[in-house]
Amino acid sequence: MAKSLFDKIWEAHVVQPAPGGLDIVYIDRHLIHEVTSPQAFDELEARDLPLFRPARILATADHNVPTRNQHLPIEEPLSRSQVDKLTANCAKYGVELYGLGHARQGIVHVIGPELGLTLPGTTIVCGDSHTSTHGAFGAVAFGIGTSQVAQVMATQCLLLSRPKRMRISIDGDLRPGVTAKDLILYVISQLGTGGATGYFVEYAGSAVRALSMEGRMTVCNMSIEMGARGGLIAPDETTFAYVQGRPYAPKEAAWDQAVAYWKTLFSDEDTVFDAEHRFDAAAITPMITYGTNPGMGIALNGHIPSKVPASEAESFDKSLQYMGFQRGESLLGKEINYVFIGSCTNSRIEDLRAVAAYVRGKQKAGHVEAIIVPGSKQVEQQAIAEGLDKILADAGFELREPGCSACLAMNEDKIPAGAYCVATSNRNFEGRQGPGSRTLLASPLVAAITAVQGRIVDITQYLN
């Protein structure tokens, strides 16, 4: 029987069926960070359970960490206590920690792939909804709650019902100035913020195949923003080339054996999906969001919808009121106060290169504060090695140290109430970047051009 990519990986990880139609699913990689792990470690202790497979856990400090002066002790006491607790727990239980000061510290969804821990055909979980990022490698990767973090710590397994399968195919060529971020913002705007709830999504089609690994990670990262349990892309030569030679990637004979297996990981031709959507890549234009969920996106030169179904009107108008926008309005010409380039969605070297390539020799607008937060120490070092730091500094952008930063504003990096921020992150929820902040999600290229122009523009007229 024809099988989907998702089913092939899932079935290879079923330890055994469990009562109620559930499966005991084995987890190959467990990523943990300081915010959603402390209560799970406490649960192990309270139940007097050992940590079952410490070697399968990767820990980092990212959500809460400052993005300036990381060599100094963390000033904010609660953040410091959470990071200290992670450090103590990792030492106690023998978990490898890529914490502050480590040459490979960074956002958990950036460093997993960099280390070669994210591999095709694996199952990967983390107490973070953007774990779907790792699906870019043809892995079944998804976010979990803290109770489940404790379950994986105790047994390396989860008790799960198999989600439905959805395939989203995007064929054709993306137009100039249109990036992976625009592609996924477009898909989410079409399906809505809950449009894939209950499904695991496979992204397919020639436009997806043509994406770099960084682009694929951006796409899979935002699967959760339409409610999907996760998203994945069949591994191919692009995937293998990215993985080969990384610290934890298989080597020599094991590499050949791995690649031979990974080449079997695709959806069979006759696979029947529970839902299918097809889009034309050429129909996608640079995107931006105008509301308070990621499904509220439009073409940069488009208009905010003037009509919505009656049942959605109250939520829709509340959202526009929060953002200070009107139904039917264009965003072109709106003044912007902040530009944030970072997060597990868009903080990789390719993103920094795209920004630097545009701003080289230009200046950000005087009233805009522009910060770039690299996804990891490795990205930061690479940017410095390529001289991007100087280009960015000359253009008035501040290059910070790695972390989740203003994506969720747990640390000091907050957007003030009422201010507008064009952000390359993944969520525009009310208060996401700080109480009262107003977020417009976009690609790194759109963010860079916005920073220079100081307002929302139709970027197709400003491309270098």
Binding site: D42, S147, C157
Partner: protein, 198 residues
């Protein structure tokens, strides 16, 4: 985990769609390292002004409404995987959230917290909102063993679905970890039998 059988309560209506977990418990409150105390900041930015004073128009500040049931618009709990959202609702005294659908991760987190995510149809949800709008004191009876939601005053009765295993867990106060730990021999056998182990 607290056991759940039946609940008699009025409901607090929040008829907005796509209520995300950043609203339920904003990220800046996730710095605690224990599970307790999150109820204090449940819906903080909707409930309170920046100076800490209550926003009188928000339903949790309206003395007319009370109860252990939250009635919310569809796609409740979307966004972040933070289980703190379920802990905050639980800590604030809610035992049931009714919506016409739940985001997947929130649903799982709620069940693991002992908070019942009770899913009804869109039409049923509209009916429930109308009942509460007409009479804020309307009593509901949630019967988990029977999988019914009943309104004694009007005779309305709705059936709801729940995974059979999760239902047993809620009724008995069990959680997945007990079951998984009991399956360790099978898990070790799976590890041994696997031909690849990257």
């Amino acid at each position: 985990m607290e056991k759940f059988q039946t609940l008699h309560s009025s409901a607090v209506p929040l008829p907005l769609e796509n209520i995300d977990t950043d609203q339920i418990i904003p990220a800046r409150f996730l710095k605690a390292t224990t599970r307790e105390g999150f109820g204090e900041n449940l819906f903080c930015d909707w409930r309170r002004n920046p100076d800490g004073s209550p926003k009188p128009e928000f339903v949790l500040n309206d003395p007319k409404y009370s109860g252990q049931i939250l009635l919310a618009g569809k796609n409740f709990g979307c966004g972040s995987s933070r289980e703190h959202a379920a802990w905050a609702l639980d800590d604030a005294g809610f035992r049931v959230v009714i919506s016409s659908y739940f985001a997947d991760i929130f649903r799982g987190n709620a069940l693991n917290t002992g908070l019942l995510p009770l899913q009804v149809t869109d039409a049923e949800l509209n009916r429930l909102f109308a009942l509460v709008e007409r009479d804020a004191a309307t009593q509901f009876v949630v019967n988990l063993p029977e999988q019914t939601l009943h309104v004694p005053a009007t005779g309305d009765s709705f059936h709801f679905d729940i995974d059979a295993y999760k239902k047993e867990c809620l009724i008995n106060g069990y959680d997945d970890i007990d079951y998984l730990v009991s399956q360790k021999p099978a898990i070790e056998a799976y590890e041994q039998a696997r031909t690849w182990n990257w």
